[in-house]
């Protein structure tokens, strides 16, 4: 527990303990822990002297922050316009069906998180999804299942 907060303190200090750095600090914390646990947010609130309601306003406003744990493997389906006109909705349905979770959710065993993104900048491959670091161009259910099975 102490170790966790020490890591947070290090992040806060790297950003100069300034209130203005709050978003940058939270981004780093999110990267470190893959989500923003409540105790850590309360700690940040005290350290930077920022009210907790303010921190929750911020963390629920920006899409990148998560207040629930994320899975060990992330599946992101691109919902950009280019992918949309090439069938992104159907790709999302397929992925959701294979993983058994809806977009925004994490599987019960915390293995997978399924999320949507607005654009991956890989429009030529659309509809495209990114499974951890691998881009999959219009994968079939079978392709997605194979990828999911290969995850630890």
């Amino acid at each position: 527990m102490l170790g966790k907060l020490a890591a947070v303190d290090k992040i806060i200090e790297a950003h100069g303990s300034e209130r203005e750095g709050l978003i940058q600090i939270l981004l780093d914390i999110q990267r470190e822990f893959r989500w923003l646990p409540k105790d850590i947010l309360e700690h940040v609130s005290k350290r930077l002297d920022v009210p907790i309601n303010y921190i929750y306003n911020l963390t629920t406003f920006y899409a990148h922050f998560s207040l629930v744990p994320k899975g060990r493997h992330s599946m992101h389906v691109c919902m950009g316009t280019a992918c949309h006109v090439r069938g992104a909705e159907r790709l999302l349905e397929r992925t959701s069906k294979v993983l058994g979770i809806k977009p925004g959710q994490t599987s019960r065993d915390e293995k997978f998180s399924l999320d949507t993104v607005n654009c991956l900048g890989a429009c030529a491959l659309g509809p495209v999804m990114i499974a951890d670091d691998e881009y999959l161009s219009n994968p079939t259910m079978e392709d997605i299942r194979r990828k999911a099975d290969s995850c630890e």
Partner: protein
């Protein structure tokens, strides 16, 4: 650049530049492996790694420069590798092709023909600039990408980099810099197209001890990635532009607000800034001119509304990125209440060119009201997806058909969407429209940041309008009633439309809500949110009517309104559809017509896509016709 010496005055810089240029052989062979987002997705990283290994093994490593460069543009055929100086362009290169390229081209001076672009006539094209996709472009901002390793300031300086900055701070007064930018007619490349020079002037005017210049790299339009292409591939061009702006406006601090989803862009910019500080082009008293300037990178945590200038500044201050409600321009009171000038990536990247080549040169490109070039991300149902840079005033038809190669699978064109979620759709009979700020606006769309999404006949315009509203309902900050509840209610109407439950008077409701939002919403996001709906009603009203009156989706997209059937006459019984159906709704014997059980069908579209293009036996019909279709068919009677 092994030993670093600080450049203390303009002649130091000149000597530094001279040394770099003289140390370079323009005829030296170089291999540029594209590492833009598209090519990286096609595993261009592995191609680069293989080149590194194989060049060493072949003993050519000393003679050949190898670079991982930013986006070349032709994402459709990635990974792309260009061999300089001859500009031989290899496409769809896999790691296994590397050895052959080295032996045949680098060592032997020959061509690996199978990796060349082949046109419609089947003839291979060797030189990159001869490929139709590139031939019609005018690459001014984006052209240096293949010649620059984004991690090498030497590469940038060898191409004339930072000479515009030196020219500005040593020979021009801030006022003349602003006058030059004003004269050039440069307009903001990020959205509304506000004249950049006027914005600079307005920021420089009010009395203040501190001013800020800011790069908006929070590229949020779905389907647009031009800014990413520039920032990843040529970060120095943006930095140099920002510095010139800082000098002109009287700012000592600049910010680059870049979305955290672009880690490579962030890394490349941070690296560039580090190098600039080391050689003294950033910091106190730059080149002894008394100009102090530094740049801070701020990562965006994901909010489309941050594209709104006051919201972006709130985000830099570490606050919720809500647009400021006050009617005060950010040029008077922006970041931390100080005069601030925000321009997007592409706008800043144009600045060094204007300073170096002059306003007259810049003005010679483009149309009356829109000068220079514009980068578009040409995507969607188009053959050649990629980033394209064209002079303002080119027609949509030229961009989509000459550069883009037309519609994928040679389907029929239906519409092109520009301007992102604040823009609109443009129909076929307006394809000869000249792309500039004012013409697009007059057509009910806008330039926006440069997304150009091509749609074929299998696109449902109501569904597209709904898509944009869904995007915006997620991205609205939720503060003001018109935007928050307006989008919510509009979406509700579109939901009714796509499910076949809408009434004629719903179109009136859409209009009432939309007009009010356009004038009453607090910020640009809410004011422009109805545009995608209004423009699609304007040009594709018949599709809306079809959804209402006939419960029919002409694009064949809205699930509630369509059903799948197999044409007995056309089906060859190949079994492909049966294999791909996830719910076993398709039955049939090999080589005899198959059948879809509509009660089981989940309308996943797989069979439709799988059915060979020559056969096209799987067709979409109205859901409302399913019952009748079954009642009249013999098989149904037997069952």
């Amino acid at each position: 650049m092994s030993e670093i010496e600080k450049l203390l005055n303009p002649s130091d810089f000149e000597a530094f530049q001279k040394k770099i240029v003289e140390g370079r052989d323009p005829n030296r062979t170089a291999v540029a492996v594209c590492s833009g987002p598209g090519c990286l997705a096609y595993a261009s990283g592995k191609v680069f790694d293989r080149f590194k290994v194989e060049l060493l093994e072949s003993g050519l490593a000393e003679e050949v420069t190898l670079a991982q460069t930013g986006c070349h543009g032709f994402c459709e055929r990635g990974p792309s590798v260009v061999i300089l100086p001859d500009e031989i362009c290899y496409l769809r290169v896999s790691p296994d092709d590397v050895k052959e390229i080295i032996e045949t081209t680098l060592r032997g001076g020959g061509i690996v023909e199978r990796l060349l672009y082949k046109g419609e006539d089947g003839l291979p094209v060797q030189k990159e600039s001869d490929i139709p996709f590139y031939k019609h472009q005018q690459k001014v901002v984006f052209g240096d990408n293949k010649r620059i390793d984004p991690r090498s300031i030497d590469d940038y300086i060898a191409r004339g980099g930072y000479t515009a900055l030196v020219k500005a701070i040593t020979t021009m007064s801030p006022e003349t810099v602003i006058a030059e930018v004003k004269e050039s007619g440069l307009r903001g490349r990020g959205g509304g197209g506000f004249p950049a020079g006027a914005k600079w002037e307005a920021t420089a005017k009010p009395p203040a001890d501190t001013r800020y210049v800011i790069v908006n790299a929070d590229e949020g339009d779905p389907g647009a990635y031009m800014d990413r292409g520039i920032l990843e591939g040529n970060p120095h061009s943006v930095i140099e532009g920002l510095m010139i702006g800082g000098y002109a406006i009287g700012a000592n601090e600049g910010y680059i607000y870049v979305r955290q989803e672009y880690p490579l862009a962030i890394d490349n910019v941070l690296y560039a800034l580090e190098v600039l500080r080391e050689i003294g082009l950033l910091g106190e008293n730059i080149l002894g001119t008394g100009f102090n300037f530094d740049i801070i990178v701020h990562k965006g945590a994901g909010a489309f509304v941050s594209g709104e200038s006051s919201a972006l500044m709130s985000a830099i201050e570490g606050r919720v990125g809500e647009p400021r409600p006050k009617y005060i321009r950010t040029s008077i009171s922006g970041l931390r209440g100080k005069p601030s000038c925000l321009n997007n990536v592409e706008t800043w990247a144009n600045v060094p060119l204007i300073i170096n080549k002059g306003a007259d040169w810049f003005k010679s490109i483009g149309t009356e009201g829109s000068k220079g070039t514009k980068i578009f991300s040409l995507v969607g149902n188009v053959k050649n997806t990629g980033l394209v840079e064209v002079p303002m005033g080119m027609t949509l038809r030229q961009i989509i058909f000459d550069i883009g190669g037309g519609i994928r699978d040679d389907k029929e064109f239906k519409a092109v969407q520009t301007g992102g979620p604040s823009g609109g759709v443009i129909p076929e009979d307006m394809l000869d429209l000249h792309v500039d700020y004012d013409e697009l606006y007059a057509a009910g769309s806008m330039m926006g940041s440069g997304g150009m999404i091509v749609m074929d006949k299998d696109t449902c315009m109501v569904n597209v309008a709904k898509y944009f509203l869904e995007f915006l309902s997620d991205e609205s900050c939720g503060k003001c009633v018109p935007c928050r509840d307006g989008i919510d209610q509009l979406l509700e109407v579109l939901q009714r439309l796509t499910s076949g439950n809408a009434l004629e008077e719903d179109l009136e409701l859409i209009e009432d809500i939309s007009l009010m939002m356009k004038e009453c919403a607090l910020c640009g996001l809410g004011q422009s949110a109805p545009n995608p709906v209004l423009s699609s009603i304007k040009y594709f009203k018949d599709e809306y009517i079809a959804h209402i009156a006939e419960k029919r989706c002409p694009g064949g997209v809205c699930k509630a309104l369509i059903a799948y059937t197999i044409d007995k006459e056309k089906c060859i019984g190949c079994g492909k559809c049966m294999k791909v159906c996830p719910v076993a709704a398709i039955t049939g014997e090999k080589k005899s017509p198959h059948k879809i059980n509509n009660a089981l069908c989940v309308k996943c579209d797989s069979c439709y896509q799988e059915c060979p293009a020559k056969v096209q036996a799987v067709t979409k019909i109205r859901q409302a016709d399913v019952i009748t279709a079954f009642a009249t068919s013999e098989e149904a009677a037997n069952e």
